[in-house]
Symmetry: C2
Subunit: 454 residues, 2 copies
């Protein structure tokens, strides 16, 4: 990766030099020779004064490729678009794939959206307008409306003719969808089958009618799972009446899988890891609210401990094991949490009670094994069997409780319709600190007369 970053900055330097020295045609040639992804990176990386020359030199087509390949989460695309007059910006939005144009418009204030849409031809504007309406994280928000579709009464050569004609427009040419007169999705033909069958064969013979499709409102994570399982290059999206609305291509699925994984991972650490290139100030500002919220929750634990002040005064040794018990129970809870969140993410969380009992039993086994270890270590270290037993017992119970909380909290959050990834690891560990301390001091109180002075 290091070489690539270096190459990019060399490319940007080279392109800047060409603009500065007025070698317009060489600039255009060099720029157009780049891969689309590289064009996008280079364009966004050019100093603004050179970029303002660049967009005057480059064609709408090329600029549409540039904007198609920029990631709205990483680059301020709206700012780049606003560097050009609105009329030019609208022409570029219109040349882009409709789903990408919709993504850009979703980043803008409504007034600006209206301006751009009013400058686009009505049919393109309508297409984009429809896509904007789908909720983020749904199949509808990912789909492209540039797909290949035919009626069923054609032959292989008719369809190939159509594929050739539309190949430059469509986002994916791997599949051609078969529709009836009311646009209902009837089946799919693969380009592979078209290429390997006789020209005069009716396509009905190679149409696969067992078609897997998703609904526009489906969760993007479920769609990604299907595409990943079936190894599809694209998947059709329909409305509730099975009318074809668009297709989602595998490159968008790759982004979704990454995005969903980043969300789960961020939840486990209480920090948004997609923003890795923030300034220190912004980075700190985003981390602090989480830490302070958790701190306030942690204050309840501090309050609880201080309410056992009398106990600590009688046996100050108890203080030594607070962090051991809270830490270990927190670790066990985090394990259960991570497993539960993953189970929900991949959709294998449908066994309800069986999963629950399975997790309870695992928690008990983990609790006993860990409690037994700490009993042996503490009994030997402090030469005090009762103290070891108290700490070990408290540890066992604390782990069983933390484990159960780690499992149940994401499951419940998912059931009531929220993203279980928000049940972040730090939240579970902070909560389990509280229960662990409660369990610890209560167990200790039971045994204190036996181990004190030991």
């Amino acid at each position: 990766m290091a070489e690539q970053i270096e190459e990019l900055s060399q490319t940007i330097q080279h392109l800047s030099d060409l603009i500065q020295s007025g070698q317009d045609n060489t600039f255009i040639d060099s720029f157009e020779a780049l891969h689309e992804y590289e064009m996008a990176q280079a364009y966004a990386g050019l100093p603004e004064q050179f970029r303002s020359v660049a967009w005057r030199l480059l064609s709408d087509d090329i600029l549409a490729s540039v904007f198609d390949n920029l990631d709205v989460d990483e680059v301020d695309i709206v700012a780049l678009l606003k560097e050009m007059p609105p009329r030019r910006g609208a022409r570029i939005l219109q040349e882009m794939y409709a789903d990408n144009a919709a993504d850009v418009l979703q980043e803008m204030p409504p007034r600006l959206v209206a301006t751009y849409l009013s400058l686009m031809p009505k049919s393109e504007a309508d297409e984009v307008r429809q896509l904007i309406n789908y909720d983020e994280q749904t199949a509808g928000s990912l789909m492209s409306t540039e797909y290949l579709a035919v009626e069923e009464n054609l032959h292989v050569d008719d369809v190939m003719h159509l594929v050739k004609k539309q190949a430059l427009e469509a986002e994916s040419i791997s599949y051609v969808y078969v529709l009836d007169k009311q646009e209902h999705l009837m089946g799919v033909i693969s380009l592979r089958d078209l290429l390997t069958h006789a020209d005069d064969l009716p396509v009905i013979n190679i149409t696969n009618e067992r078609i897997i499709s998703v609904k526009a409102g489906d969760d993007q994570a479920d769609v990604a799972q299907i595409v990943a399982n079936y190894n599809f290059l694209s998947i059709p999206v329909t409305d509730d009446n099975n009318r074809l609305l668009g297709v989602i291509t595998v490159d968008d699925i790759v982004d979704v899988i990454d995005e969903e994984a980043v969300e789960d991972y961020s939840g486990l650490a209480a920090v948004n890891v997609s923003q890795i290139n923030d300034t220190p100030w912004h980075s700190a500002v985003k981390r602090i609210p989480w830490l302070i919220a958790l701190l306030l929750l942690g204050m309840t634990t501090a309050t609880l401990i201080s309410s056992y002040d009398g106990l600590v005064r009688r046996a100050s040794i108890l203080a030594a094991f607070i962090s051991l018990i809270t830490g270990t129970a927190g670790n066990a809870g985090t394990q259960a949490l991570a497993l539960a969140v993953r189970r929900i993410a991949v959709g294998s969380d449908k066994n309800g009670l069986r999963d629950f009992f399975s997790e309870v039993i695992a928690g008990i086994l983990v609790g006993i094994a860990t409690g037994l270890s700490v009993f042996i270590v503490v009994a030997l270290w402090k030469q005090n069997v009762v103290l070891g037993f108290a700490v070990g017992l408290a540890m066992t119970i604390a782990i069983i409780v933390a484990n159960l909380a780690g499992y149940l909290i994401p499951v419940v959050i998912d059931k009531i319709g929220f993203d279980p990834a928000v049940a972040s690891g730090p939240f579970i560990t902070t909560l389990s600190d509280l229960t662990s301390v409660l369990i610890y001091f209560n167990v200790a109180q039971l045994f204190i007369t036996h181990f004190i002075g030991g």
Copy 2:
């Protein structure tokens, strides 16, 4: 997803009934009408006595599709293969895509590998044997050797003819690679361009020579990043002399992205979340070693606290804030860790010193903000400004240290060549417990004469 699991069990029931009632042809038709992924799921899900009928009825081709679509991480493919006589198993391996066959063989003991390879035709056996030799997690282990390649002195129709002929063999037909006589990779032609250009055009005119390729030894995570960035459907793999060895298709990249994310996520929770369907016993057995290792590390903190026993006896209130300080510093450390691991995973960790200072500044800001909050809360709650100041100061220093450790540890682990995801969250928090306690009691000791009796 729930409907799909239900559908699958219905399909399996239906197929079992057909076998039991001896309707062999209906079984074959029903099975072959399934999507390849569904075939694989259904085959693996059949009761063994029916499966032993199924493989006798199904063709090598169909069984190869079944085995191509099973995931070695989820299903015991070797056991399924061993249900058939070795000769039949070898025929299926030989019909499978070479990369998938190699994945299956990599799961077997060497003796069995030798048996199967000896039963395969020499050329296929050699192909597979070569793939087995690539290390896991490298580009070589992912690549398929069934790709389309041509020499450069051809015309569009020649190449289309070849594409049509090989379309059923090749794993991906989206790109055709152009090689010179020594098999060096010279460029790539997209199927889209072939379809949209005249038959008599020399392909050299539509060959893209700015080709992006990877080396067989490259890390799979880096390869996945490139494919995701460039939106490729496949990427060529070459040796050090730029000779084409194979191609990696996007469906394998989807699996890699998921796998790498799962690894990072697992690291943050000290549990392998890819094994979500373990029995409680196995699940517990895998979690316990981590917990006990962390417990032993945590014992050093307990020992440290008990060495400050005199201090706790003098001011038992100090015990109340142990879990608050260790917990909050642990959370801050986990945030820094997650960001560092992510930065390394996506390859944007090449700014060295700048990243370091950026993280130090963020840590200081986070530490001061959090320390200030705790100072105010404790000072008000305990009506003791000095105690509040001591706890706040300890918190600030503990966070700065934990934050730095969370950043530095994965960076150092990565530098010395290991996977930074092993620097798991619980390891960082347990380690930061130790430093936090050390800082806390030392700061407390400085101020004890001022807040005691307060």
